[in-house]
Symmetry: D2
Subunit: 284 residues, 4 copies
Amino acid sequence: MNKITLLISCKDTEGIIASVTRFIYKKSGNIIYIDQHVDMEHGVFFMRLESQFSGTAGSFKDFKNEFGRQIAQEYGMSWEIHTEDPKPKMAIFVSRYDHCLYDLLGRYNSGELKVTIPFIISNHKDLEPVAASFGIPFYHIPVTASNKAEAEQEQLRLLREAKIDFIVLARYMQIVSGELISQYPHKIINIHHSFLPAFPGAKPYHSAFKRGVKIIGATSHYVTEELDAGPIIEQDITRVTHAHAIEDLVMKGRDLEKIVLARAVKLHISRKVMAHNNKTIVFS
Amino acid sequence: MNKITLLISCKDTEGIIASVTRFIYKKSGNIIYIDQHVDMEHGVFFMRLESQFSGTAGSFKDFKNEFGRQIAQEYGMSWEIHTEDPKPKMAIFVSRYDHCLYDLLGRYNSGELKVTIPFIISNHKDLEPVAASFGIPFYHIPVTASNKAEAEQEQLRLLREAKIDFIVLARYMQIVSGELISQYPHKIINIHHSFLPAFPGAKPYHSAFKRGVKIIGATSHYVTEELDAGPIIEQDITRVTHAHAIEDLVMKGRDLEKIVLARAVKLHISRKVMAHNNKTIVFS
Amino acid sequence: MNKITLLISCKDTEGIIASVTRFIYKKSGNIIYIDQHVDMEHGVFFMRLESQFSGTAGSFKDFKNEFGRQIAQEYGMSWEIHTEDPKPKMAIFVSRYDHCLYDLLGRYNSGELKVTIPFIISNHKDLEPVAASFGIPFYHIPVTASNKAEAEQEQLRLLREAKIDFIVLARYMQIVSGELISQYPHKIINIHHSFLPAFPGAKPYHSAFKRGVKIIGATSHYVTEELDAGPIIEQDITRVTHAHAIEDLVMKGRDLEKIVLARAVKLHISRKVMAHNNKTIVFS
Amino acid sequence: MNKITLLISCKDTEGIIASVTRFIYKKSGNIIYIDQHVDMEHGVFFMRLESQFSGTAGSFKDFKNEFGRQIAQEYGMSWEIHTEDPKPKMAIFVSRYDHCLYDLLGRYNSGELKVTIPFIISNHKDLEPVAASFGIPFYHIPVTASNKAEAEQEQLRLLREAKIDFIVLARYMQIVSGELISQYPHKIINIHHSFLPAFPGAKPYHSAFKRGVKIIGATSHYVTEELDAGPIIEQDITRVTHAHAIEDLVMKGRDLEKIVLARAVKLHISRKVMAHNNKTIVFS
């Protein structure tokens, strides 16, 4: 056990930080990051903590057991604890647009994304060569009105078999089903090509053009049952003018989409996002 | 006649720029700014041009007459021509918030806003001392459910008597009536405290907080009959996090509101905004 | 004792957070904010913590004494502890530009800046009416080559008598002396009208224009002996183009300057800035 | 001849726009874009104009000849005229970093960059597979202290033979020689990983970290003899905090670098950049 990341949420009360940090200290841990947030409205406490341990620290399993018994139970915590190994397993879903895929794979290749990518799934064959050039398995699962249910069962089977931890919809142009969502709660990251809640649904650049906005945006969020209404992880914007045609918005938007999605994916990988009440706490 | 600013719109066709610039040249004008835009969807041409004239140029009146007869008529133009004098007359409407008012008056004081400000109207007395400290007349016209119509007649009378050119709603917390809007079409500038079209109407910071957005915005637009749906002149945004309470959004929003409103007012004063089809062309 | 803000720095070692939070807990404190930073290069630990106390908590004086003896001494801490009362005393120095002054006083007036402002000092009389309109004493202390030393003694006397906590140079166009700086270490906040370290010294907008940059900036920093080289608190930027003349840069820069300075002042007031090794830690 | 883009610079005088637009009109051209700039300091006029022509327009060769004789000569213009075919030929120079290369090739692949890429040159072999995956020839030309002159002759030969129009240094970690620069004046685009003129030269992220800036930037510029001092085409920035280590700056910087370089390359390809007096005019 070298380094752990601990995520906690529970009813807000006095002494939580003292108890947790004392526990870590007694285990010879050196806290290198601590941040907390209190949702005043609902009286909920959230904390993220990173700690390093010297070689003499006990096993990770013992640590978890003791933390559960001595601390988590006392405060009624929901909690997660992560080590750096193994790396999380990330599946990517794409359709035909390649900009987000190239961007993610480029970052993966350079070591920026600390994940493994067991496969890419697409409802089209177009991006198979991109996957191949990065040496990543590619599954073509066409989705039509008539085969939607089977296609999804096939997706679920692949996800299950590879023990996928989370899914990135890198401009995947299909609405994912409730079953998939319920099996990966706050574990499916989508990129929507507008500044939500403005312009949800289809063709946001067309709507932005029509409304004459001076700024367009992109939003990365966890997928929930309601379309484009899940907890927002990250957003960014860029300026446009009357001189930009819809195609210009689409082109400028691509740069936003890939950057915003990458930021959200990196936050998720580093366990910096906690979802609660359809909002996120994003620790810095 | 030293300098003119010419705004034109008409059906797009060949030769417009050549005709207009040749006319200016023959009048010994030196074009120091020209920009144009074609709305491809509707086939409409827009142009903004600034020209300087040497001392020997004829009168402004003759220039206008000839331009109307020789050029504007041929192309069926809608057009406006402005000199630098007299400065436009700007009325400010406020309620209780002072940040936009201080910002506008500070700019006016420093010579940044090339206008005269005949008066400030408010439905509350709170900001009278601010008006007084800048030496600007202040009219307190309370607005209630029962006196709304008379209050507006009083506003209209003041606007008419002072020959007001345009109105700035500097966080004026009342909905202005259709009559006022129809008398000042694309001449009433509002600041809305959200990134429209997200969160129109009341309490946008509350809605932004509830939705958990990571960016908040402000939007300055011309007022039209439909609430918060008029042509957008300028927008800007700032980042927020889960740690910001509603009051923090309000405070951060104030900085956005005053800057965005000031930019929109300056664009309007320098005749850089043309409204068309509920959108704006904002020349740079 | 209702609420305290505690700032700590010391050699990094295990157990600091546990010790401090346990101390707070035993004093019946509820920690509502904790953030820390470790300067890995130099092995220094920094922490900022806010805690609320119930009515039964002991006196602030006892708390301080015990913290000093039981905790601070053990870890060899440099530390500060602040309550919300009394508010810090802020002096403003200005010359002739009024935009930063109006902005600061507007925020002060609206309750956004939790300070008292005992006086404004200027080497010119121009802004006396602005001070008067906000009801703040104004001292005109002219500075010339021959009277520089006496002028500064006069400034120091006023600062001392009013027990000023920190000084804001709101576009004060004079270089302050080493004596003043040494008496207010990391307590004099300046706004420099460039994106430091680009364009230090005089006339940065002229230099930016000459270099043809596409973005201009403003930088707020603590004043140190070396000109425009102190620890940076906050920076921001805005885009410019070839079409902007120097006067346009100056005008656009004004909006940057006032916003950036206000942000830095607010960070300082809320004790969110720690300076170290000519850099700042700015807690969020 | 379907569409032309015309770039002009000459001494500022009256009538230029009228003469040029009239010439276009007589050739049955429909101007779809016109923008101009006057460098007031030096009295120089710049114009960029796009015009479409109907099928009955004469040959491009005749157009050029007549424009040269009838217009350009009269005003003593420097001028360029471009059609959309053939596409410009762009060479890319890289070393070991792949993020800018992936980004450029992804855009090229998707049709966003309207160029041909005859080859990629590198002083290292690392990125050969990337070039291969996009089907672009890759020349490995090692550069050492002893072979620098020959290496450059080899580069020049390849550039000449392929009739390269412009060169993109996509994080090419070598200083290019005066000979190369003089043969491609304002035709070599570099990306520098700082907000110039801050932190020119080597290791800007290290310098930014040391100075404690709150914003880092990237700058794309034309290469001139003086290192990192050529005309700036585009810049952008991102915020950083005390919590970012040098490696974080490097990682955040990568996103800036690729976006800023891509924007500069696109501006150059669409002939929107004119260089003059070591600055650029960048038409919108």
